[in-house]
């Protein structure tokens, strides 16, 4: 538990003093409340044993002040811990933002945006709870039992011993409440299975409906639901006896004690004293039990908090592991791209395995291959936002990591299929590619990328807003805006994912023209989908199983019995296929 707090508090060095304030105030309030109980004892003694009513009125006032004072102080302590908790939450989120701006693109390829946001959002707010609400409670819970015992012994040795025995019994019963491990284990397994079945059920519901197959898919979920309920019940039943006994001891403590009283020697001679002792033992044990119960809640919530921190740190770790390194080199001697024994993968299995090749500047290259061959991965790696697992990517003779981030940004541009637009105007979305460009140049980029026909659609033209408060663009249109950005950026190396007809068929030709405009006099690496369009590029690299298996011009490759020719043939066939061929 303390480890969790140590870990958490490392994120809020600037507000660490709030811990001391909060802990100090909580403990002070605990003393005040415990003091109230001690004065309650004095009050009863005066009232019952001495029979002095006037003197007891004084004690009544003391109790009153202590209770109110204690409650107020506790509240101030809680406020202090809230200040701390909220700052912690803020700092954890900031840490997340920092991680986002450092992580390599592999991290974003592997984790969906929704998932990343949820992990940061949900867990950060959970950690604030364990600091804001639990910190004072923990301080409270740790001190209170000892104070209660002290009061018990102050009342009398017998009350002290009685309270100690009851406390130990309660703690033992709590320990017994964790249930039997085998029940716990089966319960956990049932829970995991239920979770997996629910996911599969919900995901498959569309298919299940379309095929009228409900009975069977239901069966698996039903089984999981009922198994879970059964094991959960078994598990809770295994906790039944200790829990019931604990409650019993708490509620019925007076009835448990009364028969024993008569065993005490001279009980009738010191009647009033014994009565007060009994009364105090009952009151103190009641407070003791609820304190112990609170400790249990605290432990449980700290456990949840620990999981939240672990999840966050795991993700930060993952971001950090993939952090990009940048050097200081500003200028490129030339724009030749060189892969030197590059190995790269997203998980265990490498997508690229020991790939080496060189691409010359100012030439155009097309990457051809089946889906999953690694052609997109090669293109992505050149963007400079990935860290390779092994080997080196060099541009102009030097490793990519030796260049400054600015140099990489300015000299490499990429347009992939999933161009993302910001929720601002179309103009801003293009202008961000070059902050120094004037209006002229931005509009020129729109024009060259063939975006005029997009602007024509809206009455506000380039000032039209994108997104929830504005308009939506089709995939092909977004890609054309992406091309306008790249044109404005005017980088020497262009990496592009050719439009696949599936994205937006009627925009395909517009896109092709825009890409052609972008490619002029640049070093171009293109992921090709439409095999007819690449026949004029300078060189074609055929990628298969994460390796370059063939390279050459269209003419050269078509002349041999090549994989490339095989693809071209297939493409022609697919393109010429008709529904109802034989009709």
């Amino acid at each position: 538990m303390f480890k969790v707090y140590k870990k958490l508090l490392a994120y809020v060095p600037e507000k660490k003093y709030m811990i001391s304030i909060s802990v100090f105030l909580s403990i002070a309030s605990t003393f005040a409340i415990a003091g109230a109980y001690y004065y309650l004892y004095l009050f009863f003694e005066r009232l019952i044993v001495v029979g002095d009513y006037t003197g007891s009125a004084f004690y009544a006032w003391v109790i009153f002040s202590l209770l109110i004072g204690g409650t107020t102080v506790y509240f101030i302590g809680t406020l202090a811990s809230h200040v701390l908790g909220f700052r912690l939450e803020t700092n954890l989120r900031k840490r997340g933002i920092e991680g986002l701006s450092e992580a390599s693109f592999r991290f974003f390829d592997l984790n969906s945006s929704g998932r990343i946001r949820k992990i940061i959002d949900d867990n950060a707010s959970q950690t604030h709870t364990i600091v804001a609400h639990l910190l004072p409670d923990i301080a409270n819970a740790l001190v209170k039992p000892f104070l209660l015992l002290i009061i018990g012994f102050a009342v009398s040795l017998r009350v002290g011993i009685g309270l100690t025995i009851l406390t130990v019994a309660a703690i033992l019963l709590y320990a017994g409440m964790s249930g039997e491990t085998q029940f716990m284990k089966r319960y956990q397994q049932a829970l995991e299975r239920l979770s997996a079945e629910s996911v599969e059920y919900v995901r498959g519901i569309q298919v299940v409906k379309i095929f009228n197959a409900d009975a069977r898919s239901f069966k698996a979920l039903h089984e999981a639901i009922h198994d879970y309920a059964k094991f959960a019940l078994n598990y809770s039943m295994s906790c039944k006896v200790p829990w019931v006994l604990l409650q019993w001891a708490m509620f019925a403590v007076a009835a448990i004690l009364v028969p024993f009283i008569f065993l005490l020697p001279g009980v009738f001679m010191h009647g009033p004293e014994t009565a007060v002792e009994l009364l105090m033992l009952m009151l103190l044990s009641g407070v003791m039990f609820s304190t112990i119960m609170k400790v249990m809640y605290v432990v449980m919530y700290s456990f949840n908090g620990a999981m939240a921190v672990d999840k966050l740190e795991e993700m930060y770790e993952e971001m950090h592991k993939d952090t990009l390194r940048h050097g200081t080199r500003e200028d490129f001697a030339n724009y030749d791209v060189e892969f030197d024994h590059v190995t790269f993968g997203y998980g265990e299995k490498p997508v690229l395995d020991d790939v080496s090749f060189t691409l010359r500047q100012n030439r155009s290259y097309a990457l051809v291959g089946a889906s999953g061959s690694g052609k997109s991965t090669i293109a992505k790696l050149i963007s400079g936002f990935y860290r390779v697992d092994d080997g080196e990517i060099r541009i102009g003779g030097f490793p990519l990591e030796e260049y400054s981030e600015k140099a990489v940004l300015e000299n490499i541009a990429f347009v992939f299929q999933d161009v993302k637009l910001f929720k601002t105007s179309l103009y801003e979305n293009v202008a961000l590619a070059d902050r120094n460009a004037g209006r002229e140049k931005v509009m020129e980029a729109f024009r060259r990328a063939g975006c005029d026909s997009i602007l024509d659609k809206f009455k506000d033209r380039e000032n039209t807003l994108i997104g929830s408060k504005g308009v939506y663009l089709s995939g092909g249109e977004k890609q054309r805006i992406g091309i306008a950005r790249a044109i404005l950026k005017d980088a020497r190396i262009i990496i592009m994912d050719e439009a696949s007809a599936a994205v937006d068929p009627e925009n395909e030709h517009e896109l092709q023209k825009a890409f052609a405009e972008l490619m002029k006099d640049k070093t171009v690496i293109m992921i090709a989908h439409r095999l007819t369009s690449v026949r004029n590029v300078d060189e074609i690299l055929v990628i298969g199983d994460g390796r370059v298996i063939e390279r050459g011009s269209d003419r050269e490759l078509m002349a041999e019995d090549s994989r490339y020719r095989f693809f071209q043939d297939l493409y022609a066939q697919a393109n010429d296929w008709r529904v109802r061929e034989h009709a």
């Binding site: 919900v202 298919v207 409906k209 009994l278 009364l279 940004l409 937006d504 439409r530």
Partner: protein, 573 residues
């Protein structure tokens, strides 16, 4: 009371009934905590004031009290946990059943993981509340008035001293809840804005980095976080003040009893014994109130989850009766449809897709052609006009009857974590292994299935994760072969595939659609040239319909599409 429980906590009728039993048990347990206090008072009476009773009287009374309390506690535990886990199973089953009845449009509007969360986490929370909070909380409202009446009845001054501060404190808490909700609204709005900024920052991470925008964005987000921290603190403090007052007011209960009691004692109004009794009552109530406060916060926290469960329950199901469909002519007449009210997608679509013919839908993206397919298969229900199959309006046909006649092959394929064999058999539950193999062969699956470690018995992982896109699509075509429905709907099924896989699918496609009524959308215009009928959709309406040659003469939209496709095809960089 039972109805109230059902509504308030989203319980099933059985669950509500059992919860009532648990509440009763809790109520009895709460009452049973007072006899030990009475016992104590008797002892004080005996020891201090000399009204002696026999030792055996005390012992018998103690033992009886102990046994009763023990039995009640066991009863409460059994009632609570039995009710809880039976209910959690029933609730989950009910939600799952309900989900299965909802229109498929529901699933395109809601995130899969959110719906799964409802089955898992939301029910979990209700489960926890049922076994911890609900019975105790409700029972408190029954036993507190009884206690209040008894305390006030015996001595109204002292009784009010105990009860009034508690009632007052609770009113303050209820009041503070309202203030808090108002104060929190601003903070919640900020939170939502934060979420959106976050989402955009993560979604656009690649753009942000590659245009060097990280620095300014970080500054902006950091400032936003600090702003919300401030708001959070303000809203917390405003709600803390009434809460603090409530707590102080409740502490008054004990203090007032003592002060008032001592005064009354001095004026001889009451005995020491009565005062002690009231002090014990005040302390006990304080304990109970503290426990209840924890339960209350759990219940407040439950509200959003209950709302989610009720949202699923109250979502409209699709109407329609089980009915045989004879004939497969599909007729659309003046069909209108929109996903949200202000932007109509279809503005009066009329065309017929004749039985055993291939009808292709073409048009630019966003023209509404995919919506038409969704409407014909009742993934969504149309707003106006009529859609009939074999002369029957599809809104009057249950989806299960409808899907007996229709096979749909989507671009996205959903597979289950079971064997290849079972995944295909989904197409027709009663099919023999032999029939499944035959369907797989027709769909060109044999080649890859034979490469799997255990052939048809290979488990393919969660959602078929071990298979490639082309393999998945071929499995889904095998399902359609096995199902052998007279109507087949194909929506861009090869759009995401590479040429090799596209080729393999094309091979089997013509076999699948032979002799069937087919509606198809394809991104390759050329591929649908031979369709019996091509329907050109433009801006939510039918621009023209007819055969390829015919349309070239009559439809500008079609001409343009064909021209663009030809240009794209001939283009070289």
């Amino acid at each position: 009371m039972r109805k109230w429980l059902e509504r308030r906590f989203a319980l099933t009728p059985q669950g509500a009934a059992e919860t009532m039993r648990a509440i009763l048990a809790s109520f009895l347990v709460s009452l049973s905590t007072y006899p030990p206090a009475c016992l104590l008072l008797l002892v004080i009476d005996d020891f201090v004031f000399g009204r002696h009773r026999s030792v055996s009287f005390y012992i018998v009374l103690s033992v009886v009290i102990l046994i009763v309390i023990l039995l009640l506690l066991f009863l409460e535990y059994d009632c609570m946990y039995n009710a809880t886990y039976r209910e959690s199973a029933n609730l989950r089953t009910e939600i799952a059943d309900r989900l299965n009845k909802l229109p498929l449009s529901y699933f395109s509007k809601h995130d899969t993981s959110d719906l799964t969360q409802t089955i898992m986490a939301d029910v979990d929370a209700i489960e926890h509340a049922m076994s911890h909070s609900i019975p105790k909380f409700v029972a408190f409202f029954f036993y507190f008035p009884i206690l209040a009446v008894m305390l006030i009845g015996y001595d109204y001054k002292l009784g009010l001293a105990v009860i009034l501060p508690i009632v007052l404190g609770y009113s303050l808490i209820a009041l503070s809840k309202k203030v808090q909700i108002r104060m929190n609204r601003k903070y919640y709005l900020q939170l939502r804005e934060n979420s959106e900024s976050f989402q955009e920052a993560i979604e656009n991470a690649q753009e942000i980095r590659s245009f060097g925008l990280s620095g300014p964005l970080r500054t902006k987000l950091d400032a936003q976080m600090e702003e919300s921290e401030k708001l959070h603190l303000i809203s917390e403090i405003t709600s803390a003040v009434p809460l603090l007052s409530a707590n102080i007011v409740m502490q008054l209960s004990l203090a007032l009893v003592i002060l008032l009691g001592v005064n009354m004692l001095m004026s001889g109004g009451i005995s020491v014994l009565v005062l002690t009794a009231y002090i014990i009552a005040a302390l006990k109530i304080k304990e109970a109130v503290e426990t209840i406060s924890e339960n209350v916060s759990e219940l407040y926290y439950l509200d959003a989850r209950i709302e989610r469960i009720n949202a699923i329950r109250n979502a409209p199901v699709q109407a329609g009766e089980d009915a045989g469909i004879s004939g497969c002519d599909i007729r659309l007449k003046d069909v209108t449809f929109s996903y949200n009210e202000d932007s109509p997608v279809l503005r009066g679509v009329t065309f017929d897709a004749a039985q055993d013919q291939v009808t292709a839908l073409v048009g630019v993206s966003g023209c509404g052609k995919t919506s038409i397919l969704r409407i014909i298969s009742r993934l969504y229900d149309y707003d106006g006009g009529s859609v009939t199959i074999g002369g029957k309006d599809i809104k009057g046909i249950s989806t299960s009857s409808l899907f007996e006649k229709i096979s749909i092959v989507f671009q996205d394929v959903t597979l289950f974590n079971t064997s290849v064999m079972e995944n295909i058999r989904l197409g027709s539950r009663d099919a023999t292994d032999e029939q499944v193999r035959e369907a797989a062969r027709l769909a060109n699956c044999e080649e890859f299935v034979s490469r799997l470690p255990e052939g048809y018995d290979t488990k393919i992982g969660e959602n078929g994760i071990t298979l490639s896109g082309g393999e998945r699509q071929r499995l889904s075509i095998a399902r359609a072969f096995l199902k052998d429905a007279p109507i087949i709907i194909l929506d861009e099924i090869a759009a995401a595939l590479d040429v090799e896989n596209e080729n393999k699918i094309q091979d089997s496609l013509n076999q699948l659609i032979a002799g069937k009524t087919v509606i198809i959308i394809s991104h390759r215009l050329k591929s649908i040239e031979n369709a019996d009928q091509i329907v050109v959709i433009s801006e939510g309406k039918v621009d023209a319909a007819g055969a390829h040659e015919e349309l070239l003469g009559t439809s500008h939209v079609y001409q343009n599409l064909v021209k663009n496709a030809a240009l794209a095809e001939k283009f070289m960089y």
